[in-house]
């Protein structure tokens, strides 16, 4: 710590943030997960399976992914239609 540092507000440690972000990102990219080229296929197959049982609108499917240091969360959100007769008008 320099003399000025004693008086200064703690400077924002953005370099630390940059290092952490890169570590997470590159770990996934090197593992070949970043492109996640299997996701479109995965989504199609999941929808096909669900379609065997209920009607699914392609527009009502949302897939989200959150990559963290030690785990990634893949979330597939499929909005199911309202029961017959009670379907909200839109």
């Amino acid at each position: 710590m320099t003399l000025f540092g004693l008086f200064a507000r703690q400077p924002p440690k953005t370099a630390e943030a940059a290092r952490e972000r890169l570590q997470i990102l590159l770990a996934h990219e090197r593992a070949g997960l970043a492109g996640a080229d299997f996701l479109p296929q995965l989504q199609r197959e999941i929808i096909e399976v669900i379609r065997k049982y209920v009607e699914v609108d392609d527009e009502r499917v949302q897939v989200t992914l959150d990559r963290e240091q030690n785990l990634s969360v893949l979330e597939v959100n499929i909005e199911l239609p309202a029961p017959e007769g009670k379907r909200p008008t839109r």
Partner: protein
């Protein structure tokens, strides 16, 4: 109908992605529904600069190929209302972009957005060509440095001949954005002056972004620099955004505040 703006330069490393992120964020902050598209297939970086790299599921190429719907690939910015990001593929190459496919996506986005900002890759290959092809306006990012000015001149030539507007006999308006401008070095005679660059390139100037430590700070944390309200570069970008919106804002040559001893002790911002 959206206005399509390409951010291009020819040369790499001059600040295209920083500019795309800042301009898109600035337009959204001004209340316009804006999307920024990364055209650098295989070397994507808009996601990283915008801080949404962990949330990319589907991308531009998936949408072009019909593997995902547009709404699934659009990433909504968590800080700025009205701002969306369309990342590109990190694993494919530029041949995945087709003129027909890009045109289709831009048309679909046009219905819903006010501005579409196309972040061009460096070079003059397919990605750069398609980023500019559908543009209504161009921002040519240039550093006050000989190779950058030369490459910008080449890009300006391509913009006036190879874009869809040019093919239709209409004028595509190009604007010059001078980045990494260092007033001190200009004063010492070590760097090209604004007038030198504008005289050589002969396109209207839309802004001057000074060399500013806040640009690196913002990129470190994945934030468009316009969100840093203390940043000289951020302010200069917001003024450029005002000019893009047709406002008459005088272009001043921004000078980063000189740091005296007192300043350094009291507010160490950079």
């Amino acid at each position: 109908m959206a206005k399509v703006i390409v951010v291009t330069s020819g040369k790499g490393g001059v600040g295209k992605t920083t500019t795309s992120a800042a301009v898109a964020a600035g337009l959204a902050l001004r209340g316009f529904k804006t999307v920024v598209i990364d055209f650098d297939v295989g070397l994507r970086n808009v996601d990283l600069i915008m801080g949404c790299e962990r949330r990319v599921v589907f991308d531009f190429i998936n949408v072009i190929n019909g593997d995902a719907k547009l709404h699934q690939a659009l990433i909504k910015d968590k800080r700025i209302e009205n701002l969306h990001i369309l990342a590109t593929s990190q694993t494919r190459d530029k041949d995945a972009l087709t003129q027909e496919g890009v045109g289709r996506v831009i048309e679909e986005l046009s219905a819903d957005f006010d501005f579409i900002v196309c972040d061009s890759p460096a070079g003059i290959e397919r990605g750069a060509f398609l980023a500019m092809y559908f543009a209504d306006e161009a921002i040519v990012v240039t550093n006050p440095e000989v190779s950058s000015v030369r490459d910008s001149d080449r890009m300006i030539g391509l913009l006036t001949s190879k874009s869809r507007k040019a093919e239709q006999g209409q004028a595509l308006s190009s604007h010059l954005l001078l980045t990494r401008y260092d007033v001190d070095r200009v004063e010492k005679g070590e760097m090209l002056r604004v007038e030198d660059v504008t005289e050589i390139l002969a396109v209207p100037l839309i802004g001057i972004i000074p060399e500013c430590p806040s640009v690196l700070q913002a990129s470190n944390v994945g934030m468009p620099v316009v969100l840093d309200d203390k940043s000289v570069a951020g302010k200069a970008y917001m003024e450029a955004v005002g000019r893009i919106l047709g406002e008459d804002i005088e272009i001043t040559i921004p000078k980063p505040a000189k740091k005296g001893l007192f300043d350094r002790i009291l507010r160490r911002t950079a």
